[in-house]
């Protein structure tokens, strides 16, 4: 594997193999010393051109748990504001001695461009509204841990799908792994051409709710113009929020997931987020394991003959 940029094109077996590796790293993270020397001497640079603290920390934890060194770049404190181009920034950081770059960027396709400029592996930490492949892996892992498989599961993804890279990666990963996915959103927050995705589409959450095994709740993204579709957040909650009342109508073994950070009281009620069937903190823990698995694939045990 040279780069890890997108879920698109990964087969069921590809994804299954990555989840299997992630399982091994979950075991490592449960040890008294949750660390292995696999990437000792390697440096992983996290280049986050779009603000994010939690995903960046997750990648850094994953790199360190593999004994790699980390370097971190973020735009506010950098010379990008002095007019340095993305390409020059990337080449400068690479010249300091980087073995892999984790990139998050507001512009679609930025990690692909970066992969054209450096030979080292590039890992997509989220580009525009396009892909967030490690998120999809950690979500799939969490579902698989709970149900044993994704085959035949009914998964509803609720919220601003049009502007969500999490949704795009999730739909592709879940359906490749055998789940039936439904996108639930008002028409203006569904993709412009919904048929392009291997998922059903519904505007009525209450219509599909009681059939679902997994409710995947997306953030209301004020910063991407999602909220402006509704006259008020209260109306969003009324139609699409996972309230206690809606939660009570779910199948008894259905689970709730959320990519974080949550807007408690908006897309998800606080009591639901704190319920044992909301596996949000499991997602976070699995995120480190999944990122360890991907970094290991990209950098571990190389110099093959």
């Amino acid at each position: 594997m040279n780069h890890f940029l997108t879920i698109e094109g990964l087969t069921r077996d590809d994804l299954g193999g990555l989840l299997d590796d992630a399982d091994e790293f979950v075991d490592v993270l449960h040890r008294p010393i949750p660390k292995v020397p696999a990437l000792r001497g390697k440096t992983v640079a996290t280049m986050f051109f779009e603000a994010s603290t939690r995903t960046k920390m997750s990648f850094e934890k994953a790199a360190k748990a593999l004994s790699a060194d980390t370097m971190s770049f973020s735009p506010g404190t950098s010379s990008l504001s002095k007019g340095e181009s993305l390409k020059d920034t990337v080449l400068t950081i690479k010249a300091m001695g980087t073995d892999a770059m984790v990139v998050r960027h507001t512009a679609t396709g930025a990690p692909w461009r970066i992969a054209e400029w450096i030979e080292q592996p590039v890992l997509n930490g989220g580009d525009g509204a396009h892909q967030h492949p490690t998120q999809a892996l950690l979500d799939a892992l969490t579902i698989r841990q709970h149900f044993g498989t994704l085959d035949g599961l009914k998964i509803g993804i609720v919220g601003d799908i049009r502007h969500s890279r999490v949704a795009r990666s999730d739909i592709q990963a879940f359906s490749a792994l055998g789940a039936d996915v439904t996108m639930v959103a008002p028409r203006t927050l569904l993709p412009v051409v919904p048929e392009v995705f291997d998922a059903a589409a519904s505007e009525d959450l209450d219509d599909v709710l009681s059939d679902l095994d997994v409710v995947y709740v997306l953030r209301v993204q004020a910063e991407r113009g999602g909220a402006s579709v509704f006259p008020s957040l209260a109306e969003y909650t009324a139609r699409y929020g996972i309230t206690k009342e809606r939660f009570a109508r779910l199948k008894p073994d259905a689970i709730v997931l959320h990519p974080g950070p949550m807007n408690r009281g908006v897309e998800i009620e606080g009591a639901v987020a704190d319920d044992p069937r909301a596996l949000i903190l499991d997602q976070v823990f699995n995120g480190v394991a999944v990122r360890m698995a991907v970094l290991f694939r990209l950098l571990g045990g190389e110099h093959a003959e």
Binding site: S85, L86, K87, H105, T106, A107, T108, G109, A110, W112, R113, W117, G128, A129, H130, R162, H163, S164, R165, R168, P191, V192, V193, P194, E195, V196, F197
Partner: protein, 422 residues
């Protein structure tokens, strides 16, 4: 008779149709057309079409003001290599060509380089700001006949109407960059299946169509000659056809890239496929090909838009719109659209010269006429490898094409042979 230069054995487009013949050229003019002609220099054109030098109604040479992308010298070279003997250059330079002396500067620079006739288009509005009319009278006196705020649409219908009224009386043509500001705002590619997959804001086909529909109403009101630049939608082609059947003085152009590609080219987010209007659906592309073949679309305009490497080596959403195309336009048209020799030279030379009122150009070879000629081998298979332009933002590098301009003759002088300067 001994001519200076003989183009021998090609299929020459004449007023009576294509005939296999030699052309003898002396003192910048066609001295003879016959068989077995004698000359100081002879170029073998067997198997190739010979016709009037190609004329581009729409290119960007970036001089004055943006010479890091291209200048009149390098743009002229790219044009000559592509078989062009005349290029109408757009006024979105810095400063914009909105006054007579600026138009004269561009024309003089072109004459100084001497490879192609560089014909400046003039802005419709001062500074291309869309608020006040440019010095249309000065521009007219300086020889400008094509008026465009290209790069931007003339958004204010009132301003457009006043420009049309002025030009209707004189006979110039308004060349409109037909993309609505509001509908294209925030968009980076065609709004459709690919933009949905990529999660990118798209520009719906309606953005082009609302401007064309609106402007056609103004053509009915004013009677001005109106030319739609870079058609990109099937609906646009249909509206042009309907307008023509009503007898309106409307013409339209299509770019080579809109003939070659559709929005699937954007899937890899390589900015070399980013242009305005964007590459649209496969159905749109096919309608454009049909429109050019049946003449609804009058001309091919390259919209040659050079950008420097450092401007292109960025993520898609940060990249400027536009790709270069002068060197390969003729080849692309021949590869993707079925045109016989007469139609080929009509769309690429005769009609552009007529619409742009470009003197001495687009004239079917005849004795005594100016020696602006292109020799085009319609069967040559080749793959573009690099560009003579300062810019390299070409979507055709590495794309196999069929048909190549082999010899370009500008006012009797061979400017380019087989894609390289002579």
């Amino acid at each position: 008779m001994q001519s200076e230069l003989i183009l021998a054995g090609g299929t020459v487009l004449t007023a009576d149709g294509p005939i296999e013949a030699d052309i003898g050229i002396s003192a910048g003019h066609i001295a003879e057309i016959g068989v077995g002609l004698d000359g100081n220099e002879t170029i073998d054109c067997a198997g190739a079409w010979v016709g009037p030098g190609l004329v581009d109604l729409h290119a960007h040479f970036r001089e004055p003001g943006q010479e890091w992308k291209e200048d009149i010298t390098t743009g002229s070279r790219a044009a000559a290599a592509g078989g062009y003997t005349a290029v109408v250059v757009m006024p979105n330079t810095d400063p914009a060509i909105d006054a007579g002396h600026l138009a004269r500067f561009v024309a003089d620079r072109g004459a100084e380089v001497g490879l192609v006739d560089v014909v400046p288009a003039g802005a419709v509005s001062k500074g291309r700001a869309g608020l006040e009319l440019a010095h249309l009278d000065e521009l007219w006196a300086a020889g400008v006949r094509v008026f465009s705020d290209d790069g931007d649409v003339v958004a204010d219908a009132g301003l457009l109407r006043r420009a049309m009224d002025y030009l209707a009386a004189r006979g110039g043509v308004i060349s409109q960059h037909a993309v609505d500001v509001g509908l294209s705002r925030g968009g980076h590619m065609h709004e459709g299946a690919v933009s949905s997959l990529l999660g990118m804001y798209g520009i719906p086909s309606a953005a082009d169509d609302v401007i064309i529909a609106r402007d056609l109403e103004l053509v009915e009101v004013t009677g001005a000659c109106y030319h739609v630049q870079h058609l990109s939608t099937a609906n646009g082609v249909a509206m042009i056809a309907a307008a023509k059947s009503k007898g309106l003085p409307v013409t339209a152009e299509v770019t080579p890239h809109h003939l070659a590609f559709d929005h699937h080219a954007a899937e890899g987010t390589n900015p070399v496929y980013k242009m305005m209007p964007p590459l649209r659906s496969t159905e749109d592309r096919d309608a454009l090909r049909r429109g050019l073949a049946n003449g609804t679309i009058d001309v091919v305009g390259t919209d040659h838009a050079p950008h420097a490497d450092h401007e292109e080596e960025v993520p898609w959403e940060h990249a400027p719109n536009g790709v270069i195309g002068l060197e390969w336009a003729a080849a692309v048209v021949n590869t993707y659209v079925d045109l016989d020799q007469e139609a080929f030279f009509d769309r690429l030379s005769v009609a552009p010269a007529r619409i742009g009122q470009v003197k001495d150009q687009g004239l079917v070879p005849a004795i005594g006429g100016p020696a602006n000629l292109t020799v085009f081998d319609p069967k040559r298979e080749w793959t573009p490898a690099a560009s003579l332009s300062k810019a390299q933002n070409s979507p055709y590098l590495g794309l196999p094409l069929r048909g190549k301009p082999m010899v370009t003759v500008h006012r009797g002088v061979v400017t380019a042979v087989d894609g390289a300067m002579a």
